[in-house]
Symmetry: C2
Subunit: 222 residues, 2 copies
Amino acid sequence: MFKKILLVEDQQSISKGLKSILNDLDIYNVETSDYCDNALLKIKASLAKKQPYDLLITDLSFKDDYFLKTIGSGEELIEQVKKIQPDLKIIVFSIQSKVGIVKKLVEDYAIDAFISKGRRESEDIKKAIQLVSKGKKYYSNSILTLFNNSRNISQLSTSDTLILKLLASGLKQKQIPEHFKKNNIPSGSKRSIEYRLQELKIMFGAETLPQLIGIVKDIGLI
Amino acid sequence: MFKKILLVEDQQSISKGLKSILNDLDIYNVETSDYCDNALLKIKASLAKKQPYDLLITDLSFKDDYFLKTIGSGEELIEQVKKIQPDLKIIVFSIQSKVGIVKKLVEDYAIDAFISKGRRESEDIKKAIQLVSKGKKYYSNSILTLFNNSRNISQLSTSDTLILKLLASGLKQKQIPEHFKKNNIPSGSKRSIEYRLQELKIMFGAETLPQLIGIVKDIGLI
DNA sequence: TCTGCTTTTGCGTTTTTCCGCAAGTTGATT
DNA sequence: AATCAACTTGCGGAAAAACGCAAAAGCAGA
């Protein structure tokens, strides 16, 4: 199991919550940092002292509170960390599972786990920590489906998420073309909406529209 | 604003999180209790000392850790509290928004706010506290729709939630009759499923099936 | 038991969604 | 400029969902 953990999270409540979950797993040596620059400094310092961390748990988005910050997101932090300590295990714990970012994290930075905040987060965290400590990967369920297909899912366009939001708000899919036209959004023909919903279903592994909405709600995409 | 608050919540992480949200509102005099019996004792004691609480924030479900507990749920706690201090404002903060329980809390015990944990909880909490301090009520969005209709929604049958779960899991609604038959669940004809989905849509104020699934996901019903 | 209400069920029609086909568009690569 | 792949769009038909109607079943209260 892990011996020295760094937790990077700016919302105090969440970081406290995570700590107590870690305690449940008999992990107590957890340091915290509430912004990325500070986290990177800590990692550098511990490397220099030859007492490196063996796990980094980080959020992706941080409040813009600090004047002197150079690293603004968990993504950048991970990029920097990989340069100085490539073997450090990384678990990302984020509310915004933007498909493109997740894909980049998994494929380019080879993060060891991705957990989306929300329902079942604590179970997910426990699972993730146990698996990662054994050298395995863990990606929370709904994220997993994103990688089970050949398509390029890096960028969900804003109009894709708009379609999903409109559906979740009660519009029938045949009403969406009208909405697109009214707001001068391109590519809004009936058949295009159908096509894109089809693609979205494939992308998220959904069989039906109701399931698709359920999944994107679970992921936190809308 | 409130001067003396009691927070009843057994998960330490959440109670810490709530405290920090309260701090954002410049509220610092918050006592906490992690099980119901203890909470009731505190309320009695403070009444006796003529320094009563003016707000109670409580969860509904608690872990079964304590040997000597007599009050096992937030619901029972509220029932007891109403007997000894009827004017105490009550905010319920719970993950399980079982429709029947919520309805009972609102209609029978006249709780001042109900917030379902999950997306947007901190905003909801802030809104709730501000409104309740002005003597108003606040029920988080998705719960509200439950009360905007004449129907008796106290009891969602288990097969109602089953239908919703099956839909969210990707079954087409025409496949549901087969599933009901296979598992010997009564009232599973195609037309019945249609009828009950119709009722559920009315109940939750949904126009379409995808929206219905979105709503029950938000509520945490499934 | 009778009465009135809700739920269940079947049937048939309308509406909506789904999807194949084919032609046109766009944008990147060679 | 030619090419290729992905996206857009329209048309039309198949599949599924939505819904009105009406009969039957179930159930609670007078």
